[in-house]
Amino acid sequence: MLFNLQILFDLAPITNVQLILDGIFIGAVISLSAYGLALVWGVMNVKNLAQGDFVILGGYMAFALFNAGVHPVLALPIVMVLMAMFGWMVYILIIRRVIQQDMFTSLLATFGLSLLLQQVLNLIFGPEVQTIDSKMPNYQLFDNAITLPMVKILSLVMVAVLAVAVVIFMKKSRMGQAIRATAQDERAARVLGINTDNVYAFTFSLNAAICGAAGVMVSIIWVLQPFYGITYSLRSFAIVTAAGLGNLPGVITTGFGLGLLEQYTGFVLGAEYQVASAVVMLLLVLIYRQIQLSRKRQVVQ
């Protein structure tokens, strides 16, 4: 470990740049996933523990399409549409029925869904890790000290475009406004004639599509494995809990922050600690909130 630290500060500071870049790439993906989670959470008060599995599912869809000859960039919109349909189906069958019940029910329902997805994916694709080799060029910088795959840059651009599109949609479109109104006050929205059931269905499908997009990127820049979903879920929860629900810039910065944190932890301590670092961050955030509540009197939440 100390040797790794030495590399960072002493021997090859350029490694920092590589880590930062990788952190940004992965940060973009998990920010997207976290945003979707916050969306569903804020609008319907459903905490989707299967979020990470949606991502992986999207990734596998892209993988399957790639094997059928479709380039990942082209696959992105296809996967998003497929995932939206999937999300809509999940909403009708499961989510709609647990919205009214207590929070643990929705958590457990989505956790059950998560398990189901993991197992089905395992059956279909097997437990080996998969990735898409897009055969796009790599840029080498600084005497080959830094590798900058073209495909990662491309995916970052796609993420940014998608994020901007979603934000504009939420602000300008009727449905976007309906969503925000429902998130603020569900009963008032209904009184005003908004069909909240449609809003919920749309929101959940949108989230599934966003996860699908994130998944496509994962399949390109990282690896897929049926049981990796839960780590993405944990990361998303960590980000949302830290940044707060209505806070899009916060979610993005926290997402990138976590990406960086994981890269550095993985480098300094070893890859096995990456998942643990996400958990630690989650726990720290939760503890921090708890300390705030228990030390002094607060209005009872």
Partner: protein, 351 residues
């Protein structure tokens, strides 16, 4: 206890003690059944009775497993040497060494897990509802990951447990009995607890925690005690399980979050959470379904179990006991006052 209860316990005792004799080929499955009963029952203490749904109780299972392994080995050999040999060298344990190690190991597992529950409780008990669930889930996942990084206890390669001195049937029967005894002990302790003020207190916390605080109930202490009891039994059964399986490994055996970790919740829900017998019933049913799907639906068993979980949660929240108690309250010794309500819902559950 009513006459009906005595009869029920007698039947269980007979089946429990003579089960492996009657069905020797199913001994290990039946042992596993008792493990599941214990897991579901202890989960329900915090989950169903107190309303704190933990997704991370499996942490104590794994911790107990590893604590026991370390105790059993370290009493006679150097742990680091043993684990780094990856089972290539098989050190000898005399009968006496094996059994003292085993029993001390189980005890240490239970007590150690209690300490761990106290430590983790400090982190997570300020959290409510879903945050508590996610926090405990995170702990369980992290535990599995981090254990795999510690070479002293075998890292990702695990530990090969000391051999049982005796032939296969004796071994199977021995571990079966251990599981049965632990499950029975757990049930007895829980039954007693629920009959005291403690049972009322945790129900009050579930019903309205803020009211409980406002009435002076030290809710944190109750949470800690409840989790400690859970941790003790989970730790003990973890130790037994590790020895029974013979080989322990962080993510698959010790901290299997997506399987056993969630099964205990599914079983309690299926049988009816918040009741004494619900988790037991749920464990039995779930176990039977699981074994059946393994045999007949191989390849799809996990999918089937996941589906059951979802269907249970979404469409059948109250579980079997909950449903039964609603339909036939008198059978359970529940007084009903028909004058205040049309549907004659039950007033109090005694069982």
């Amino acid at each position: 206890m009513t006459g009906r209860s005595y009869l029920l316990y007698a039947v269980i005792l007979v089946l429990g003690v003579f089960g492996p004799i009657m069905f020797p080929n199913y001994t290990q499955q039946m042992a596993l059944l008792w493990v599941m009963v214990l897991m579901a029952s202890t989960w329900d203490l915090l989950g169903g009775q107190m309303g704190y749904n933990s997704l991370g109780n499996i942490t104590f299972f794994g911790c107990g497993m590893y604590i026991s392994a370390v105790v059993q080995i370290s009493m006679f050999y150097n742990v680091a040497d043993y684990t780094s040999a990856f089972g290539a060298i098989k050190p000898e344990f005399t009968d006496e060494q094996y059994f003292t190690g085993l029993f001390l190991g189980i005890l240490a597992a239970g007590i150690g897990s209690v300490f761990i529950s106290y430590l983790f409780g400090l982190i997570v008990f300020g959290l409510r509802g879903p945050y508590f669930a996610i926090g405990t889930l995170g702990i369980a996942i992290a535990a599995g990951q981090l254990t795999g990084t510690i070479d002293y206890i075998g890292g990702g390669s695990g530990i090969s447990m000391p051999f049982f001195p005796g032939d296969i049937e004796v071994r199977a029967g021995f571990f079966y009995l251990l599981c049965f005894i632990l499950a029975a002990l757990t049930h007895i302790v829980l039954r007693w607890i629920y009959s005291t003020q403690f049972g009322l207190a945790i129900n009050a916390i579930r019903d309205d925690e803020d009211k409980a605080e406002a009435m002076g109930i030290p809710t944190l202490k109750y949470k800690q005690i409840g989790w400690a009891i859970t941790a003790f039994f989970m730790g003990c059964i973890g130790a037994v399980f590790g020895n029974m399986v013979g080989f322990i490994e962080p993510v698959e055996v010790a901290f299997p979050v997506p399987t056993f970790g969630i099964f205990m919740v599914a079983m309690a829900l299926l049988g009816g959470k918040g009741t004494l017998w619900g988790p037991v019933l749920g464990a039995v049913l779930f176990h039977i379904i699981k074994e059946a799907t393994w045999t007949y639906l191989l390849g799809w068993q996990w999918v089937a179990l996941g589906l059951i979980l979802i269907i249970n949660i979404v469409y059948f929240q109250e579980g079997i006991m909950g449903w039964l108690q609603r339909k036939y309250p008198e059978f359970f010794g529940i007084t009903v006052d028909v004058s205040t309500r049309e549907d004659g819902k039950e007033a109090k559950a005694d069982g």
